[in-house]
């Protein structure tokens, strides 16, 4: 038989002027406000997620009841539309292609994708993380904004200001 070594869980320290008196059943101060400002995912996070899903679904359904997706005549390989436009998200690239086929159609998109892929390995300073438009990241914010604005402007030009033969056209003419 092994001797059971009975050890006091909270041994009394002769130097201590206080001791454990009792353990009371109850909730700690951290209930519903866990360590490091966290809360239970259920229900706090998931109820919001569900609400957002319902909102997205309702909006898509509403839009779909009002606006019909475009459907033109059946495809005819012998009769090209003029202008022939790429889907809107590629119209910016198509606009660049109209300036230079290789530079606009291949080099620029490749450069954009490569830069995006390498970005987190080039810009490593953790300052300003977790803050919108942090003052510590002014240069990065400015550069990215230029990129976004240029993309949007190119798409707008390609989509709305280009008519037959890719000539500049004003939307109302």
């Amino acid at each position: 038989m092994k001797a059971v070594n009975k050890e006091e869980m909270f041994p009394k320290d002769p130097n201590k002027t206080y001791s454990l008196m009792a353990i009371v059943d109850g909730e700690t101060f951290n209930v519903e406000k866990g360590p490091e400002d966290t809360v239970q995912s259920w229900p706090h996070l998931m109820v919001r997620e569900l609400a957002l899903f319902l909102l997205v679904f309702a909006v898509i359904l509403g839009v779909s009841l009002i606006f019909n997706a475009p459907l033109e005549e059946a495809a005819n390989p012998l009769h090209s539309t003029n202008p022939a436009k790429a889907p809107w998200y590629f119209v910016g690239i198509q606009e660049l292609v109209s300036y230079s086929a290789f530079l606009g159609g291949i080099a620029t998109p490749a450069l954009i994708v490569l830069t995006l892929l390498l970005l987190p390995y080039l810009d490593r300073n953790p300052k300003g993380t977790g803050v919108w438009f942090s003052r510590d990241r002014r240069v990065a914010t400015a550069l990215f904004t230029v990129f976004v604005v240029v993309m949007v402007v190119l798409i707008l030009i390609g989509q709305f200001l280009r008519g037959p033969n890719w000539h500049l056209y004003l939307p109302w003419s």
């Binding site: 209930v31 490091e36 400002d37 966290t38 809360v39 239970q40 995912s41 259920w42 229900p43 706090h44 996070l45 998931m46 919001r48 997620e49 957002l52 899903f53 997205v56 679904f57 898509i60 359904l61 839009v63 779909s64 009841l65 606006f67 019909n68 997706a69 475009p70 459907l71 033109e72 005549e73 059946a74 495809a75 390989p77 539309t81 022939a84 790429a86 889907p87 998200y89 590629f90 690239i93 198509q94 292609v97 290789f102 159609g105 291949i106 995006l116 892929l117 970005l119 987190p120 390995y121 300073n125 953790p126 300003g128 993380t129 977790g130 803050v131 919108w132 942090s134 990215f144 976004v148």
Partner: protein, 247 residues
């Protein structure tokens, strides 16, 4: 100890309760434990942590943009599966199927509209989500690789949308894909070959329609699901969403 009676009668008497308990594997406990178990005891919810930081819940921090992109993806899967019942990837039939959706199938127009508008929205929201991640500096260590996964997701989203664009086989689809695939042909040296590989020929035709269809309904959705799995898993492993450093 009392013997549990495993009689058939008992089994039938407790059938509803036993079935319910076998599905939602849940043990009792305190209310707090019960709520935690509701998350990690459920396969569909366990991608979530049991607790989240308050900053991740701030609507003004994420604007829910990534989540909206994901929801649009789910809507696209559901509506796309339904569309597959009515669609044939043939240059003879594809356009007629579109007309049938419009005039013959009940709610066919709405179904097609839902799929089309969600697709456009997903491209836009994935891009907006990328902007949010950039402007909050959320790609900094340890989240570098999740940004890379994100860029791949954006490319897959674009390509999914592009391959779907051809399927209605109308003038808009045909000439948009002709223009788009011509851009690939500008690649020095291999351009023409890349376009041939994509279209299964030198022009947009039956082979191109079939290739785009297979990419659109099988290959790319599968790639997207895998990348999304890694994306969400990495959010957990990187310690949840980013937040200010001193927090």
């Amino acid at each position: 100890m009392s013997e549990t009676a495993y009689s058939l009668k008992e089994s039938i008497r407790h059938l509803p309760r036993n079935i319910k308990e076998s599905i939602i594997r849940r043990g009792g406990g305190t209310a707090e434990q019960e709520r935690a178990a509701a998350v990690f005891g459920n396969m569909f919810l366990h991608v979530h942590p049991v607790r989240v930081h308050l900053n991740s819940l701030r609507a003004g921090y994420t604007f829910g943009l990534g989540l909206i992109s994901f929801y649009l993806f789910l809507i696209l899967i559901a509506s796309g599966l339904l569309l597959m019942f009515y669609y044939t990837p043939s240059t003879e039939l594809a356009y007629r199927n579109m007309k049938d959706l419009e005039y013959v199938v009940s709610f066919g127009v709405v179904l097609r509209n839902v799929h089309r508008w969600s697709a456009h929205a997903m491209v836009a929201f994935a891009f907006l989500h990328m902007c949010r991640v950039f402007y909050t500096g959320s790609y900094k260590a340890p989240r570098e690789f999740n940004w890379v996964i994100g860029v791949c997701l954006l490319l897959v989203t674009l390509f999914l949308s592009f391959t779907g664009y051809l399927l209605p086989w109308d003038q808009l689809a045909f000439w948009a894909i002709t223009v788009g695939s011509n851009i690939a042909a500008y690649m020095p040296g291999i351009g023409e070959k890349v376009r041939f590989l994509l279209l299964g020929g030198n022009e947009v035709g039956q082979m191109a329609l079939l290739r785009f269809y297979v990419l659109h309904v099988a290959v790319l959705p599968l790639v997207a699901v895998v990348l999304l799995g890694v994306h969400f898993w990495r959010i957990r492993k990187d310690g949840g969403l980013s937040r200010p450093l001193n927090d």
